[in-house]
C-alpha cells in the first residue's frame, strides 16, 4: 500500500532522515520505533508532504499506484493518506464539533455516518461536542485528534506517538481503539516510543536510529531481540 525508498529529510546541514526504505502492506499495522530525535516525526511529515524530502514515496490505493512526489498535502489527504500529528494539535479555540468537521474538510458528501462512527469509538467526544477543544484533557484531545483524522475517511492512517503523556490505562484504551480502526480496514503506520505496546499490536516493525533503519522484521521477533530489549524495552 505504501512503499518508501531512499527517503531523505534534511534541515539545513542536519540530515534527520538518511535514506530509509520501508513498506506498509494493505490492512497491516506497522510500527516505526526509535528514540528521541531518531527522525520519526520527520519521516511522517515527509510522507504527508508537510516538509520537503527526496527519495520516492509510492501509495497504492485500490490498485492505482500514485507517486507522491510533488503532490500537495491536501491532495494526499484526498487520496486517503492522513496523519494524526505528534502532540495532538487540536484546534484549541474551536469546538469539538468544528474540529471533527475540519477533518472532513475535503469531503462534500454526507457526514452523519462518519460522526456516528467516531462517537461509537469515542463516546466521550459526543458529550463534549460544543466544548472548546482546548478544555479537553490530554487523553480526550488525543481521541479528538484521531476522530478528526477518521472524518476524512483515511485508507492509511499515520499516527505519531498517540500514547505520549497518557496514563497507562488510557494508553491501553487508545491502542485498543487503534486495533479496532485497523479491523475496520484502515491500514496503520504507528510511530511510537512506547515500543512495548507498539510491538504488541503491530505485525511488523522498523527500528529507526539517527535517521537510519537499524532493524526490521516481524513485531514479535523484534520484541524478543536482545538489542531491542536493551535499547527500548528497558532490559
Amino acid at each position: 500500500m505504501l512503499r518508501v525508498t531512499g527517503l531523505e529529510v534534511s534541515y539545513g546541514s542536519i540530515r534527520a532522515v538518511q535514506g530509509i526504505d520501508f513498506d506498509v502492506r494493505e490492512g497491516e499495522i506497522v510500527t516505526l520505533i526509535g528514540a528521541n530525535g531518531a527522525g520519526k516525526t520527520s519521516t511522517l511529515h515527509a510522507l504527508s508532504g508537510l516538509i520537503p524530502s527526496t527519495g520516492s514515496v509510492e501509495l497504492e490505493i485500490d490498485g492505482n499506484r500514485h507517486n507522491l512526489r510533488g503532490i500537495a498535502p491536501d491532495l494526499r489527504v484526498g487520496l486517503g493518506l492522513v496523519q494524526v500529528p505528534e502532540g495532538r494539535r487540536v484546534f484549541g479555540n474551536l469546538s469539538v464539533r468544528d474540529n471533527l468537521l475540519l477533518g472532513a474538510y475535503r469531503r462534500k458528501d454526507d457526514l452523519t455516518k462518519d460522526l456516528e462512527n467516531v462517537f461509537r469509538l469515542f463516546p466521550r467526544l459526543k458529550e463534549r461536542l460544543n466544548q472548546r477543544s482546548s478544555t479537553l484533557s490530554g487523553g480526550e484531545q488525543q481521541m479528538l485528534a484521531i476522530g478528526r483524522a477518521l472524518m476524512s475517511r483515511p485508507r492509511i492512517l499515520l499516527l505519531d506517538e498517540p500514547s505520549m503523556g497518557l496514563a497507562p490505562l488510557l494508553v491501553r484504551e487508545i491502542f485498543r481503539i487503534i486495533q479496532a480502526i485497523n479491523a475496520e480496514g484502515v491500514t496503520i503506520l504507528l510511530v511510537e516510543q512506547n515500543a512495548h505496546m507498539a510491538l504488541k499490536i503491530a505485525q511488523r516493525a522498523f527500528v529507526l536510529e539517527t535517521g537510519k533503519i537499524a532493524l526490521s522484521g516481524p513485531a514479535d521477533e523484534l520484541a524478543r531481540s536482545e538489542t531491542v530489549k536493551r535499547a527500548y524495552l528497558g532490559g
Binding site: S48, F91, G92, S95, L101, L102, Y105, R132
Partner: protein
C-alpha cells in the same frame, strides 16, 4: 425556531429598521450631527471587520489595512470626479483593493508574526507615498478636494448616502458572518489555530491565506470607497500607519475574532471620540488609556472572540444555554 423562520424574521427586521432609520434621517428627525456620527461608525465597522477577517479570524497580523482603505477611497474619488456614478465607481475601487490584497498575500505566505506585520506596514507606507507622489491624480499632500457626493441634490444626498453606507455595513456583516460559519470559514480558523494541523487535515493554507487577504482588502476598499463621497475630501494622512493602528485598536478592544465585538467597538470609539471633544488634545490619550485598561482587566477584548446574539439571549432567558463561539 426553524432556521428559515429565523432568517426571514431577522432579514425583515433589519430591512424595516434600515427603512425607518433612512426615513428619520431624510426628514431630519435624526439630526445631521448624529446621522453623520452613525455613518462614520458604520464605515469604521466595515473597515474594522475587514481587518478582523485577516487578523482576528485568519490570524495574520496586518498593519497596513489603511493602505487598502486608501486605495478604495482614492479610486472612488478619481472615478466619481470623472463623472462616474458612485455605484459604478465602487467596482474598480473594490477591485483594485482586492488586487493589492492579492499581491500582498504572495510574499506573506512565507512570513508570519512580526515579519508579516512589518511587511504589511511597509505596504501601507508604499500606498501613502504613492498617494502623495501621484499629485496629478490624487491631489498629493494637500489632499483630494471637491469629491462629488452620493447625489447632486443635497437632501437626497443625505438619505442616499445613509442608505448606501448602512446597506454596505449590513452586507459586509452578513457576508463575514456567513463566511465564518461555512466550511471555508472553518478552514480559515484552522489556519489561525495551527497551520501544521490544518495542512495535515487537507486544508490548502496558501489558498486560504490568499483568499482571506484578497477578500479582507476588498472589504477595506469598500469602506474606503464610502468615505470619498461621504467626506468630499481625502487627505493622505488619513491612510498612514497611525490609521492602520487605529483599526487594530478597534479590534483589540472589541475582541479579536468577534464580529459583534468589532462593531460595538467601532461605533463606541467613534461616538466616544466625538463626545469627548471638550477634552481637546487630551482626547488623544483615550485610545492608549483604553488599551491599557483593557489589557489589564479584559485582555481578550469586550467580546473575547464570542458573539452577542439575540437568539442566545432569548434561549438563555428561556433556560436553554446555547452559545456561538468562533474562537
Amino acid at each position: 425556531m426553524k432556521t428559515s423562520t429565523r432568517f426571514w424574521l431577522l432579514a425583515s427586521s433589519i430591512l424595516v429598521s434600515l427603512a425607518v432609520l433612512t426615513f428619520l434621517v431624510h426628514y431630519r428627525l435624526i439630526d445631521r450631527y448624529l446621522s453623520r456620527l452613525l455613518m462614520l461608525g458604520a464605515i469604521q465597522s466595515i473597515i474594522a471587520l475587514s481587518l478582523n477577517l485577516i487578523t482576528g479570524f485568519t490570524g495574520q497580523l496586518s498593519l497596513g489595512q489603511a493602505g487598502f482603505v486608501g486605495i478604495g477611497a482614492y479610486t472612488t474619488a478619481i472615478f466619481t470626479t470623472q463623472g462616474w456614478p458612485f455605484p459604478l465607481a465602487l467596482i474598480p475601487s473594490v477591485g483594485f483593493a482586492a488586487l493589492a490584497g492579492f499581491l500582498v498575500a504572495w510574499p506573506s505566505l512565507r512570513l508570519r508574526g512580526d515579519y508579516l506585520a512589518i511587511m504589511t506596514l511597509g505596504f501601507g507606507e508604499i500606498i501613502r507615498s504613492l498617494i502623495i507622489n501621484l499629485g496629478d491624480l490624487t491631489g498629493g499632500a494637500s489632499g483630494f478636494k471637491d469629491i462629488p457626493g452620493f447625489h447632486a441634490d443635497g437632501d437626497i444626498n443625505r438619505s442616499i448616502g445613509f442608505l448606501w453606507i448602512f446597506l454596505s455595513f449590513i452586507l459586509v456583516t452578513v457576508l463575514i458572518t456567513n463566511l465564518i460559519r461555512s466550511s471555508h470559514g472553518r478552514a480559515i480558523l484552522s489556519v489561525r489555530e495551527d497551520e501544521i494541523a490544518a495542512r495535515a487535515m487537507g486544508v490548502d493554507i496558501r489558498r486560504v491565506k490568499i483568499g482571506a487577504f484578497a477578500l479582507s482588502a476588498a472589504l477595506a476598499g469598500w469602506g474606503g470607497a464610502l468615505q470619498a463621497p461621504f467626506l468630499n475630501y481625502l487627505a493622505p494622512t488619513s491612510y498612514d500607519f497611525l490609521k492602520s493602528v487605529d483599526i487594530v485598536v478597534i479590534l483589540v478592544l472589541g475582541g479579536m475574532g468577534s464580529i459583534t465585538g468589532t462593531i460595538l467597538a467601532a461605533f463606541g470609539l467613534t461616538l466616544l471620540q466625538e463626545w469627548l471633544r471638550f477634552l481637546g488634545d487630551y482626547r488623544m490619550v483615550i485610545y492608549p488609556l483604553l488599551m491599557i485598561l483593557m489589557m489589564l482587566f479584559r485582555p481578550q477584548g469586550l467580546m473575547g472572540g464570542r458573539e452577542w446574539s439575540l437568539w442566545n439571549l432569548i434561549a438563555r432567558l428561556g433556560g436553554k444555554n446555547r452559545e456561538v463561539r468562533h474562537g
